[in-house]
Symmetry: C2
Subunit: 266 residues, 2 copies
């Protein structure tokens, strides 16, 4: 179906805008992604938006036309609207020419096939959606299978997280679980749990990493709870030449993930 929306007060505009808020994403089970690049990445990973919103001021683009055709072919809706209304929907003053509405993915641990990749990232109480998006991007870069979010993390489907992931939210699996559920799931199969730590740790460089390796990163300001660190199979230290905790969580995760990749590829 294809239609045009010209009024700010149109209920569809109101609905699309509401997806910027967590409670509305939660109740509808949908999220918003913007930009041709992100939507093209999504399509390459077989994620076609249910609704495609196009700016009437867009430049013609073959990828955009292909996307449009696919949305229509899969029974989705294409909405054409003004740049101003699109700006209102995405909350950006300079909106991209296109945005899409996707159904949220299954984020249960049971949806994770741990044998599908050698590296998995695990974040605990990660509060910043930008950091979350960055970790998804890091996962994509090192060929990780996905990101497991423990306890109370930022929403991976927020506009900010999706944007910061630069499309990796579509290439990486995402799961959410409380620690106890994760620990029990982890111990039911192969998997080495590794964290950067100062306690009883070996140097991170060339440490005995084993696949599937689960790299656990703590909250931005508190770090990991002691009990979580204690539950790890391997604790590693990274050099900190400056003030004790000078590396941010996403950054430490990236350095560690690249080290694990190097060791596993031997």
């Amino acid at each position: 179906m294809r239609r045009e929306i010209t009024g700010f007060s149109n209920p569809t505009v109101k609905y699309l805008r509401s997806l910027r808020e967590k409670k509305h994403r939660k109740s509808s089970g949908k999220f918003l992604a913007e930009g041709l690049r992100l939507l093209t990445d999504a399509r390459e990973c077989s994620h076609v938006p249910e609704t495609l919103v196009l700016s009437s001021a867009r430049d013609p683009h073959s990828l955009l036309e292909a996307l449009e055709a696919e949305v229509l072919a899969t029974g989705g809706e294409v909405i054409e609207t003004s740049p101003d209304i699109l700006a209102k929907i995405t909350g950006k003053s300079n909106p991209q020419a296109v945005a899409g509405v996707f159904a949220e993915f299954d984020t249960s641990l049971t949806g994770i096939d741990r044998t599908a990749a050698d590296i998995w990232l695990v974040a605990q109480a990660l509060r910043d959606p930008g950091n979350l998006g960055t970790m998804l991007r890091t996962g994509d870069a090192v060929g990780a299978g996905g990101l497991i979010l423990l306890d109370d993390c930022a929403d991976p489907f927020s506009v900010e997280a999706v944007r910061a992931s630069m499309g990796a939210v579509f290439t990486q699996k995402v799961a959410r679980a409380p620690w106890a559920e994760f620990e029990s799931w982890l111990r039911k199969g192969p998997g080495q749990l590794v964290a950067a730590s100062l306690r009883d740790a070996v140097p991170y460089r060339g440490a005995p990493y084993v696949a599937p390796c689960f790299i656990l990163v703590g909250n931005e300001s508190q770090g990991l709870p002691e009990a979580y660190e204690a539950a790890c199979d391997l604790r590693v230290t990274m050099p900190m030449k400056g003030r004790a905790d000078s590396l941010n969580a996403a950054m430490a995760g990236a350095v560690l993930a690249y080290e694990v990749l190097a060791v596993l590829e031997g």
Copy 2:
């Protein structure tokens, strides 16, 4: 000097608020940093604020009292004000109990002593103040000497960059220069210029890094100009298992900086 400010329309409040804007920082040569932790880090690096702004709702803290005494002893000013006015100054709805005004540091290349550290980070056209702050933090973590900002970068003295640096803006040297000036300065002394690249590059792992090593990172969306890459002494590739450019600039810089550190420390 010590005084109390109770009115929103006080000219000092207006002046302090104006430091959130680049043009006012530039004309006054001052910048704002907030939070006891940041101000304590600053003090440990011998940076005492010219003006200290305290919330009347603060909890007593020995570090805060020490800071206050030092500001007064060095001829600075201590201002006490309401949490609401402090919120207006810092632009945060939940302001910390304290903020300080500092004179901007010298950011000329001539202020850099390249022999003072084995690693230096260099960023070109880095637009995001959060990424800039993160790079300062990475520099602190790997024991770098500082961050050199090439061409048109975000302002290292913006509230966002200072905040994201978590105090590293006080421990790391910061310099700003156009590329041509940097290249000419670099070639007047020892220094290996290294960049992550896809052109004519060797694997980043165990590459022949030499101190002082200058790690060059490009703009978030464009990467490095070809001419800058060509001017490097060493071009290295990092594995990218996902979509081609999946690692962000600050992240790539951190992974590379840790690798350089490991190689230099042998």
